[in-house]
């Protein structure tokens, strides 16, 4: 299965371009770091609000910056897929990459659960209001899992041997 994924992806022109172009990899890395900053800057702020910190702001006000966090996530999803298509073998064989993916899944399920079932309740949180315990848990899961995604991403070249 993983052999098939590797050979199929490596046969594509995108994969070839990613590893032969001098610029493609460093450019995508730069964009990946910019996306990371946008995501952590806006989602991290919302997580702090969910934790009951930064209480002087209403939840809705903090949430209005979230489209920029989504933009950061999309940038990182695209550049991340490009890295994977470029060198699938080095990621599949890397335990740090699997940890990164696991925390990405936790962060993703957490935010989807929150946005689909709790959003209305959250939008009622005005400035000065504390947050219910459930929201504190969601905020904590979010901030911890995003920093773990960052950590395992950063560990890719050291624990496995991805470039």
């Amino acid at each position: 299965m993983s052999h098939w994924i590797v050979t199929t992806l490596k046969a594509t022109s995108v994969s070839h371009f990613m590893v032969t172009s001098e610029w493609a990899w460093p450019l995508c890395e730069t964009l990946h770091f910019i996306g990371l900053a946008l995501l952590i800057g806006t989602v991290g702020l919302l997580d702090l609000r969910l934790l009951g910190r930064m209480r002087h702001m209403s939840f809705a006000a903090v949430h209005s910056l979230i489209p920029w966090g989504i933009a950061g996530f999309v940038i990182n999803l695209i550049t991340g897929v490009l890295f994977f298509v470029g060198a699938p073998d080095q990621y599949l064989a890397n335990v740090a990459w699997w940890y990164k993916l696991a925390f990405l899944a936790i962060a993703g399920i957490n935010v989807l659960y929150f946005e689909t079932t709790q959003a209305q309740r959250a939008l009622a949180i005005g400035s000065g209001d504390d947050t219910p315990r459930a929201f504190k848990v969601i905020g904590a899961v979010s901030i911890v899992s995003w920093f773990m995604v960052l950590y395992w991403g950063r560990m890719l070249p050291f624990i496995g041997n991805a470039f």
Partner: protein, 160 residues
């Protein structure tokens, strides 16, 4: 000056950073540098994007606590940056891309300090100066990230 960097690089601590296989050496310093980046550029970008027109329901004055996060990120990166520099002092200190990055960070910090006064000036409206500063801030930090990344690819950017 190059003697100075060679001496730094030869210190036991620098040698340990460079040569140890420990996860606590170079990898941890790089991770801290990335966390600092996320806090500094993330908090800064959140403010800049608000000033430039995103998230209008958010009162600007409410974003004042973001500056604390920017400074926390800045100091994490100043310290981890010095440590990372020590490991390869003579190579990095002589690399044009490193000097470019250092210059960009200096400009970014000045913009940040000026921004704090301008954005939270008594008038509630966003002034054209505040907008220019926000644009300068987000541009300088993103380009600084690019310069930092390009330090791993010496010579790639027009030979720098």
């Amino acid at each position: 000056m190059s003697d100075f960097f060679a001496t730094i690089e030869a210190l036991p601590f620098s040698t340990w950073l460079r040569e140890s296989n420990s996860i606590w050496a170079y990898p941890t310093m790089l991770t801290l540098h990335t966390v600092g980046l996320a806090l500094l550029v993330g908090a800064s970008a959140a403010l800049d994007l608000r000033v430039l027109g995103g998230g209008k329901t958010l009162a600007l004055a409410d974003l004042r606590p973001l500056f604390r996060w920017m400074w926390i990120g800045f100091w994490i990166n100043a310290l981890s940056g010095v440590v990372l520099l020590m490991a390869d002092a003579s190579t990095k200190a002589a690399a044009p891309m490193f000097l470019i990055k250092l210059g960009l960070v200096a400009v970014g910090v000045v913009v940040m300090a000026v921004q704090r006064r301008e954005v939270f000036a008594p008038s509630a409206a966003v002034t054209p100066t505040a907008k220019s500063l926000a644009l300068a801030s987000i541009t300088v930090w993103f380009v600084a990230i690019a310069a930092g990344r390009l330090m791993a690819y010496p010579g790639l950017f027009f030979g720098l």
